[in-house]
Amino acid sequence: MNIHEFQAKELFVKFGVASAPGRVARTPAEAEAAAQELKSSDLVVKAQIHAGGRGKGTFKNGFKGGVHLCKTPAEAKELSSKMLGQTLVTHQTGPEGKMVNQVLIATGVDIAKEYYLAILTDRATSAPIVIASTEGGVDIETVAEKTPDKIFHEPVHPLLGLQPYQARKIAGLLGFQGAQFRQFSDLLLALYRLFIGCDCSMVEINPLVVTPDGKVLALDAKFNFDDNALFRHPDILAMRDTNEEDPREVEASKFGLNYIGLDGNIACLVNGAGLAMATMDIIQYAGGKPANFLDVGGGASKDQVSAAFKIILADPQVKGILVNIFGGIMDCNVIATGIVAAAREIGLKIPLVVRLEGNNVAAGKTTLADSGIAITSAEDLADAAKKIVAAVAAATE
């Protein structure tokens, strides 16, 4: 799950991570009031969408840029009125853009030096790790490749947590001195409390800045939360903005389906995440392009299959469907009955290839064959991929 910049700021305030003061606004009037509260003549108005590249984006109303500097509350109000309720297109949103429902009004920050700071769960050691660099504000992967000596790694003992001496050690490695040495150490310890306290899988501050007057501040942040832990963080779950998500993925999650839209034309419906990925792969191997990842889990009930078909068919690009179920314990005939019922209910008009394997598979195949619906049965995975690719090629000729 991702969150907005203003929500990240709220978490920074809650955990004591120093950052520039800011307020969220949903109307131009709120923006004006927020700017007044900040009592600064150095303001920035930022459109709140999850996609990056906001500064260089363009609104569909012609207004250029999702990030603007200004000096007065009146200007903040004026700028907000051009962003709120408008659609912002950036290189990450795709041509359809994203509706801006909120803006962040924050005090502007002058930068003397930029750093990079992140905490994440390191899979190799199964423990948190702090990553810091003197090269901030740029792509950290490039830094890692070109100047690996400028990146510092500090592993954290999972049961002890980040110790103050470790924070000081990193402050020293980054070259902080005097008041900033202390400011940075405090910021890092607060960030670790946030990382653990919110069950993040990653929190990245890029850049962390030192201002000309010597303040150490988190300027831009990216959070990844562990979805498995959201049950114990209702406050973070409440930050979810479904407007920012693919509506098909939101719909799928209501039915316990795990769906991810891709840009091909052969949809697939599979039980199990690994097999679902492998099914996408074999479609591509057979010369087709997968339209989605879809894991129906262990069950594949009629209602789930029916919901899955609806979500799949909402994508106008989809020209054929491959169902691949390894019904190990589930009765394949029950699954086949569900597929037939769902196909009938939807009035399926595009090619459907079904590969069933497992318990009571013969009866399942008979049910498919006797359904009176044009369902192609496949012998195995390779056969299924070949058949759906051929059917879609024939249909789109």
Binding site: P158, L159, I196, A273, G274, L275, I282, F293, G358
Partner: protein, 301 residues
């Protein structure tokens, strides 16, 4: 022989009275597995019944192990309580804990792994289908089935299977069985980013197991467990290995169902893993349809 478990292994089930746990405890009993105890706090003294089977239920893992001689636990408890369940089984001194539960917070697992340092317990999972050592009866009856795999697709034999994915494991096992090749043990290590047993651990055990003659290793995008296993196998594994990596078509930055299946920062790609496997001399199946075929070709020529 086999690895981890055999037909004499005595199993206890944590969460035996839950919907999921009871269904699979029954299937294991039907498979001929020695399910000797169940644990549900507050239901100690009751009995779990299935046909002629009567399995005593205990309040704690420690009691269950002491009174029934169980050495292995399988965990079906819901995600918020699963980490505690693992730690309880470790505290009871069990040899092996297999955690089926999907959706355990990663930070819980990070702490569990740290707390398990120095203990004699091996953890498999979480978010895994479990472990099967097939039996010699009809449809592999009489084996040890721990978890949620369909038992009947197995056949007793000499191929070790290790995988991060449930249904892909079934796929590989079924391909082997249909071609007449049985399995020594099949291990689902799970799809979470922090887990107990790695591909590498499983390869080492298979390499040391006299019954295992060849190995199928199934991986997927995310992390570098497959690369590390490959690097070890290159110089140390004396048995033929075939591998398959799922997720070549997965978009970067997206979690593909499994919590651990994600390409991030250009790391953990299928391409990188496949290259590492080739580099180690491991045969890589081009598609999931030819996992068994690829192994048999490498193994039998």
């Amino acid at each position: 022989m086999s690895i981890l478990v055999d037909s004499n292994t005595r199993i206890l089930v944590q969460g035996i009275t839950g919907d999921f746990g009871s269904r699979h405890a029954k299937l294991s009993l039907d498979y001929g597995t020695k399910v000797v105890a169940g644990v549900t706090p507050g239901k100690g003294g009751q009995t779990f019944e299935h046909g002629s089977f009567k399995v005593p239920i205990f309040d704690t893992v420690s009691d269950a192990a002491k009174q029934t001689g169980a050495t292995v636990s399988v965990i079906f408890v819901p995600p918020p309580f699963a980490a505690d369940g693992i730690l309880e089984a470790v505290d009871a001194g069990l040899a092996l804990v297999v955690c089926i539960t999907e959706g355990i917070p990663v930070n819980d697992m990070v702490k569990v792994k740290a707390a398990m340092q120095g203990s004699k317990t091996r953890l498999i999972g979480p978010n895994c289908p479990g472990v099967v050592t097939p039996g010699t009866g009809k449809d592999s009856h009489g084996g040890c089935r721990i978890g949620i795999s369909p038992g009947y697709i197995h056949k007793r034999g000499n191929v070790g299977v290790v995988s991060r994915s449930g249904t892909l494991t079934y796929e590989a096992v079924w391909q082997l069985t249909r071609r007449g090749f049985g399995q020594s043990t099949c291990v689902g290590i799970g799809g979470d980013p922090v887990n107990g047993t790695s591909h590498l651990d499983a390869l080492q055990m298979f390499n040391d197991d006299p019954e295992t003659e060849a190995i199928i290793m199934i991986g997927e995008i995310g992390g570098d467990a497959e690369e590390r296993a490959a690097a070890w196998a290159k110089d140390h594994c004396q048995k033929p290995i075939a591998a398959f990596i799922a997720g070549a078509t997965a978009p970067p930055g997206r979690r593909m169902g499994h919590a651990g299946a994600i390409v991030s920062g250009g790391k953990g790609t299928a391409r990188g893993k496949i290259d590492a496997l080739h580099e180690a001399g491991i045969a890589v199946a081009d598609t999931p349809a030819v996992m068994a075929e690829t192994l048999i070709k490498r193994w039998k020529g």
